[in-house]
Amino acid sequence: MSNKSTPTERRIILKNADDPNYSNKISCYLREGGYAMLKKSFKMKPEEIGAEVLKSGVRGRGGAGFPAGMKWKFLDRKSGKPIYLICNADESEPGTFKDRQIIHKDPHQLIEGMMIAAYAIQAKQAFIYIRAEFFEGARILESAIDEAKAKGFCGDKILGSDFSCDLVVHRGAGAYICGEETGLIESLEGKRPNPRIKPPYFPAVLGLYQCPTIVNNVETLCNVKHIMEIGGDEFAKIGKPNNTGTRIWCVSGHVKKPGYYEFECGALTMGEMIYDVCGGLLPGRSLQAVIPGGSSSKILRADERFSGKLKDGTDFDWGVEDIPLDFDGPMAAGTMSGSGGIIVMDDTVDMVEAMANINAFYAHESCGQCTPCREGSLWMRKITQRMCDGGAREEDADLLLSVANQIEGRTICAFGEAAAWPTQSFIAKFRDRFEDKVKNPERKKSSLQLI
């Protein structure tokens, strides 16, 4: 689409992952200079590491985009209780498949990042909460931890110092809500993963076993190692101000070359991603919609335009293709970059069925603790299911919107927003399809079954 040449990836995290001469064993990691940053960090003071991470401005890569350095600062270090570090490897956001690559192909990067982080926050023990569907991934991690332990890189008296931190792999069992940090903590404690009310249960103060806990995404923790390699200030130069470092974008759906691509933040726009990097849409198709950040983020209609003022004061006037791929870009367009899962939908997609598919996901995954999410998500699923089964009514679009508005902001955790935003954005941007469903209930021959 653009006159420039195809944007090139900058593989920092995934540098070695797809190299045919690189395996997930420690010999390869050491060969490429692995664990050198661990040694360097252990010569520093823990606060200094935290300062570097704060300077780097690295934001959480799990979906919320909260600056990791700030999260570490909120940690209650004065309580006298043991501190815990948890890696959130429960990748379940539809459209996201980046942590899978790191865990299966370059696990030692994660382990080194975690040990540096553990040292920085003086954690007593660290856990990797991995989703159970990654059977081999759990085995790979456990064997990698054994390798690292044998060389003194984790476990007892790391690198011969006084600091010990055991690393335990804990498998989940197939629940999306375990990706929510307090839900994860409850699951790790052996209870039903019902998220906790915040306040007062902020993990940094009252987390695992009511002790201060830091929960970070896999990609975020890997970035810690690279921050230590080049320093926080240098890292902050990668990408754009407030959107530092690289991000692994996962593209799926109706493109020629779906997959995972690592770029500097803001290095390319949505259009460049879809048309240049991913080879464009399938032959004869045109773009209908894009979900930019995993199914929880608000959908973008292909012919939409967005305008306003950015944080730095500059005006912007974008089409979907112009949205820069970083944290603030999608946010300015009224959506979010979330976990980086870009789902591309072409003109064959029946939007009501797509909505039904997403609603069914959230209804299934709701933990059931609080009323709005529990009843609202199931109600929305039932409505869209009925619409797709031929029972659509004229008032359904308004009803769906009203139900979604009643969920947003009223729940214990962000799952409420995650369930409400898709419905709100679909109705806002594709209302004509919902109204059309009343008159034309049958699925078009060119559309795939989605529910």
Binding site: A175, R192, N194, I197, P199, P200, A363, H364, E365, S366, C367, G368, Q369, C370, T371, P372, R374, E375, G376, S377, L378, W379, K382, I383, R386, L399, S402, Q406, G409, R410, T411, I412
Partner: protein, 565 residues
């Protein structure tokens, strides 16, 4: 009685009005103190906070301050600008802080309530016509007050197990359950019997017990009281009576010295159920299941319904005259009861003093459950001490009486509601000793008594009990006694007046209290019946601090002395 903690107060602004609330209180309770209801389901003041029903959502804000200088930011009209939290917050989990602003009636809050109400009703079955909870159902009440008023749901509702047996006394209807988790938290925190849980997830979450286990602990019916809807219902009360027909009376459970505050519900003289009443100093909001069964004793087969002389029915007057004839001028042994009210024990003691009788009394002791069923299975042992009926701690038998009879020290016995043989009194010693028996149910002693005078159960009269913590609490009459049965105070006052030349005592609570107040050295000196009727009154127990009270540490109770092994 809701206790008022005498701690510091904190100023907040509630719906534009400045008010003071106790420190550390949450917003639901704080608003209630000032007459504003914030509807809630899962919150209970005596259980841990769950925060999952989302019904108590309110708007909250704090005055904005300049980040650097710390000065308050002001609006154009000089009032502090309030930084309202963008999302509504739950009141039950938010503690008051100085200067906090709260909105409980704004459009946003009303919209939240409508929304949550709608969601609760979406999968709720249309059971009102057959549901016991109707009339005291919080879903009904809040739907009327805060709901949308019409339904927009046209899909199929979830189907779950209905009318299952959750335990021997509790019936569970899973479809009605709103998943507030009060029952689960209660079972974990009070009887500490972790037997309830949710299985499945999302909207299909279902309350259940593990197969093979049941909700059978002695506090299972409290979950029925706690349940805001008709999911957990009492199997005993099921389908018996609509609650709006019931008349409630405040009472005290006579099962043990715990002194649980209760509400006795009746209609047209018939008792239907007993439920606990909230008292933050005595029983929180709980009572044991075994105490609730006691209302059945009122109509049991062995209830004494008429006076008897030598086992032949007679009128009450005839029986009283015969009793006075048997007791006058003789060496009387009076066996009092720890189940009698304070007023009755006092009157009985007056009779004793004026006839130079010898007093005997036994305690009924069993295992203490550490919660609300104490080792002392009588409600008013301490009343016997305070009324002066006994100086010593009662033993668990009447062997001393047996010995006194053996040594021919007594001519006649006046027995209040005890079974002498069961109390280890030798039958041989009872030969030839006339007995005047006053009691509610027949036993071996009433069967051999010369005169039997029927008395009233706790539900049929009013009186005062003193519980294990020395709180004096009144219980009120709920139903009238059987026809022709004189109230206990009348009975005792007529005996008193007939056996002595001293001033007569009128047979009503007020008169008895006036006499009690005037006893020198009495701990009741400064306390009036009006005081005790308003609130539980703590009495001075120092006189009896050396006695071997059998109760052990329990809910709201610390034993003052070491329990003798």
């Amino acid at each position: 009685m809701i206790s008022k903690k005498n701690s510091k107060v904190v100023p907040i602004v509630l719906d534009g009005k400045e008010v003071e609330v106790p420190e550390g209180m949450n917003l639901v309770d704080a608003a209630a103190l000032h007459g504003k209801e914030i509807p809630h389901y899962c919150y209970h003041p005596q259980l841990s906070v769950a925060g999952n029903c989302r019904m108590c959502l309110i708007e909250m804000g704090t005055p904005m301050r300049n980040r650097e200088t710390g000065e308050a930011i002001l609006d154009d009209d000089g009032s502090p600008r309030i930084g309202w939290v963008p999302k509504p917050v739950i009141g039950c989990a938010t503690n008051v802080s100085p200067g906090m602003h709260v909105k409980t009636e704004s459009e946003k809050v009303l919209g939240c309530r409508e929304g949550v109400m709608e969601f609760l009703l979406v999968n709720h079955p249309l059971d009102c016509p057959i549901c016991d909870q109707a009339g005291e159902c919080r879903l009904q009440e809040f739907a009327t007050d805060y709901g949308r008023g019409y339904s927009r749901f046209v899909e199929r509702k979830n189907v779950k197990p209905k009318r299952t047996r959750l335990g021997p006394r509790v019936t569970l209807d899973d479809e009605r359950c709103i998943l507030c988790s009060r029952c689960i938290r209660f079972c974990q925190e009070v009887p500490k019997d972790d037997v309830l849980g949710f299985v499945d997830r999302g909207s299909f979450s279902t309350l259940t017990c593990f197969p093979g286990r049941e909700l059978d602990n002695n506090y299972s019916l409290n979950t029925v009281d706690l349940c805001p809807v008709g999911a957990l219902t009492s199997t005993d009360f099921r389908f018996k009576m609509r609650v709006w027909f019931l008349k409630d009376a405040d009472s005290i459970c006579p099962e043990s010295s715990a002194g649980c505050n209760t509400t006795v519900s009746s209609r047209e003289g018939e008792l239907y159920r007993i439920t606990p009443r909230r008292n933050d100093l005595v029983n929180d909001s709980w009572m044991p299941d075994s105490g609730r069964e006691l209302y059945k004793s009122v109509k049991s087969n062995n209830r004494i319904l008429s006076s008897r002389i030598d086992q032949n029915p007679c009128t009450a007057d005839e029986a009283i005259i015969e009793s006075i004839r048997l007791l006058e001028g003789k060496k009387i042994g009076i066996v009092g009861s720890c189940k009698s009210s304070l007023e009755e024990q006092f009157l009985l003691n007056q009779i004793s003093l004026k006839t130079n009788a010898v007093n005997f009394i036994r305690g009924h002791f069993e295992e203490d459950d550490g919660i609300l069923l104490s080792a002392d299975r009588t409600p008013n042992l301490r009343g016997a001490l305070i009324s002066g009926f006994t100086q010593n701690y009662p033993k668990d038998n009447l062997v001393s009486l047996s010995q006194a009879l053996d040594q021919n020290q007594l001519d006649v016995l006046l027995v209040i509601d005890e079974d002498l043989e069961a109390a280890q009194v030798d039958i041989a010693n009872l030969e030839g000793v006339p007995i005047v028996f006053i009691g509610t149910h027949t036993n071996s002693t009433s069967n051999r008594a010369s005169v039997v005078l029927p008395s009233l159960t706790t539900f049929e009269k009013s009186g005062t009990f003193v519980n294990r913590s020395f709180y004096a609490q009144v219980f009120r009459q709920a139903v009238p006694g059987p026809a022709g049965v004189l109230p206990d105070l009348s009975l005792l006052s007529r005996l008193h007046n007939g056996l002595t030349e001293d001033e007569e005592i009128s047979p009503d609570q007020n008169s008895v209290w006036k006499v009690m107040n005037n006893v020198s050295g009495s701990v009741l000196k400064e306390i009036s019946l009006t005081d005790v009727r308003k609130d539980a009154v703590l009495l001075d127990s120092s006189k009896w601090s050396d006695l071997p009270f059998v109760e052990s540490k329990a809910l709201h109770f610390e034993p003052a002395t070491k329990v003798e092994a």
